[in-house]
Point group: C2
Chain length 302, copies 2
């Protein structure tokens, strides 16, 4: 049975020097299906007793759960908006899942998910973040990093629903080390930052248009908030220009093809250089499934 | 002391399926300085007794030897054409070498190299390929691959002067395994293929304009030919269009940012699909230092 592959540690001395930060990059770009989401999906697929898993995802979790289910020979249904790029729909299908396309002008994705849950009462409905198996699966990344004894002051990772960061907080805590976990969030979709300022979960009124599409969620999950509100060291808000610059820097000085969400952690270093100057910082580059045309436009500006 | 980092093995199931080949990618994109050349450079810098190393390179060997020398506190001089892109000159300087710019309309690079060798009689003049330390350094990649027991039918790697392929042939031979080594060469710069057809080293009349700039050499090195003429299983000639398509496929289906020379081995699979169909093939993705503008143009066509 295929288990998640170890993260790829990338040294980037020129990038470290440029930013004045002692950087370590933990790249999940070569994780199976191209993002850290396989860690969570693998843990869900191999641990739930149900033989059918249903989820709603237009992004990396859809591909990850499709592949993870195919490895353990479980049925998988992924609800996607009919407007999702064909390349993403094809990827989920190629990894072995059924795609349920929903016309989101007529019916919400979560509404359709609820319908399917009723239609298949024996299926497991998986949230991409608000799920104990998801959080535990993502914690494996922190356990790996802690085992490498990299002597990290900070781990920075992107935040959307909070699945990755809550897993990291949990994994670091288990290790007993003093490394702090910071979340990197698009300023345009800053529900996590707002939640921390308010002291309770804040829900955004509309889905954001940030280029970091993996972070376009309305609110943090409940299970995630429970862990993050206790253990997260802070949220850094990252502008769209900083996200773009981070994608470019990863290309030019670290040879990494990151998707915008995957570059958020490095964007956070650009956003708060003083806080991180001289520190030993691990940026989690969470995924690499970038849209080619959009990526080309970013890179030609280097 | 920093030693070469292990190669990054990348599974690419969607790419394997598309090409009908059981592919393993051995990526040297995250090797120090962004290409396999650090293996050779590290072996040169740490083994020669001289405290000053001189070479001529406008590409990856220049950066690699600059960094390798800086690690062992040796002086390093890299001869580069005055027309070399500033980004490449800066990289060599950032890695700690002195850059000797030569106006190639007035004086050849090798002529200038000979002048410097005379000026510094105590320096070691390193060829990027025709050098026993270089070949031995590159052999480390084969030893790693063989130790992983991947059960490979073929290893395919790019050929320019023959430094990498001769190292691989040597390393595979030491292992006693039956894996065959194939060289991938741009059709536009096919001196190796011509040499194999002729049974002796063939020199091209002019430097090629292939986009695989790491393979723009006039002829294979003598030490390299000695090994390759005995042990190489063949040379596959790759068209410019196949090189471009290989860069695109690595981007889209393997999340790898390869430079054109680095994509040659996958281009060889596109060039001779029948020979490789159903085989277990390791493509060495030799480097990732792609020019941003050129890369953007390739990728926007996906």
């Amino acid at each position: 049975m295929k288990t998640p592959r170890p993260t790829t540690i990338v040294d980037a001395p020129r990038l470290s020097r440029k930013l004045g930060v002692d950087l370590v990059l933990a790249s999940e770009i070569h994780q199976y299906t191209g993002s850290f989401k396989f860690r969570a999906a693998h843990n869900v697929a191999s641990n739930v007793k149900q033989s059918h898993v249903i989820t709603a995802s237009s992004g990396n979790f859809g591909q990850a759960i499709a592949y993870a289910c195919s490895l353990v020979k479980k049925r998988c249904t992924v609800v996607m908006p009919a407007t999702a790029p064909k390349i993403k729909v094809d990827a989920v299908r190629e990894y072995g899942a059924e795609v349920d396309l929903v016309d989101v002008t007529k019916k919400g994705r979560l509404e359709r998910l609820a319908e399917l849950a009723k239609e298949f009462p024996d299926a497991y409905v998986a949230s991409p973040y608000d799920d104990a198996f998801v959080i535990e699966g993502n914690a494996s990344l922190a356990r790996e990093l802690m085992a490498l004894d990299l002597d990290l002051d900070f781990i920075i990772a992107p935040i959307g629903g909070g699945g990755l960061t809550s897993g990291l907080v949990k994994g670091v805590k288990q290790s007993g080390k003093k490394t702090q976990v910071l979340a990197a969030e698009p300023l345009l979709s800053n529900d996590a930052a707002e939640s921390f300022r308010a002291g309770h979960i804040v829900t955004l009124p509309n889905e954001s248009t940030t280029i970091a599409d993996g972070a376009r969620v309305l609110r943090i999950g409940d299970r995630n908030w429970e862990i993050l509100s206790e253990g997260l060291a802070g949220v850094i808000e990252v502008t769209e220009e900083q996200i773009k610059e981070a994608v470019r820097l990863l290309f030019a000085l670290a040879n990494l093809k990151a998707e915008p969400t995957g570059a958020l952690a490095l964007g956070a270093v650009l956003a708060e250089p003083d806080r991180l100057k001289g520190k030993r910082v691990c940026c989690v580059i969470s995924g690499g499934n970038a849209d080619p045309a959009f990526y080309a436009k970013l890179v030609e500006g280097i």
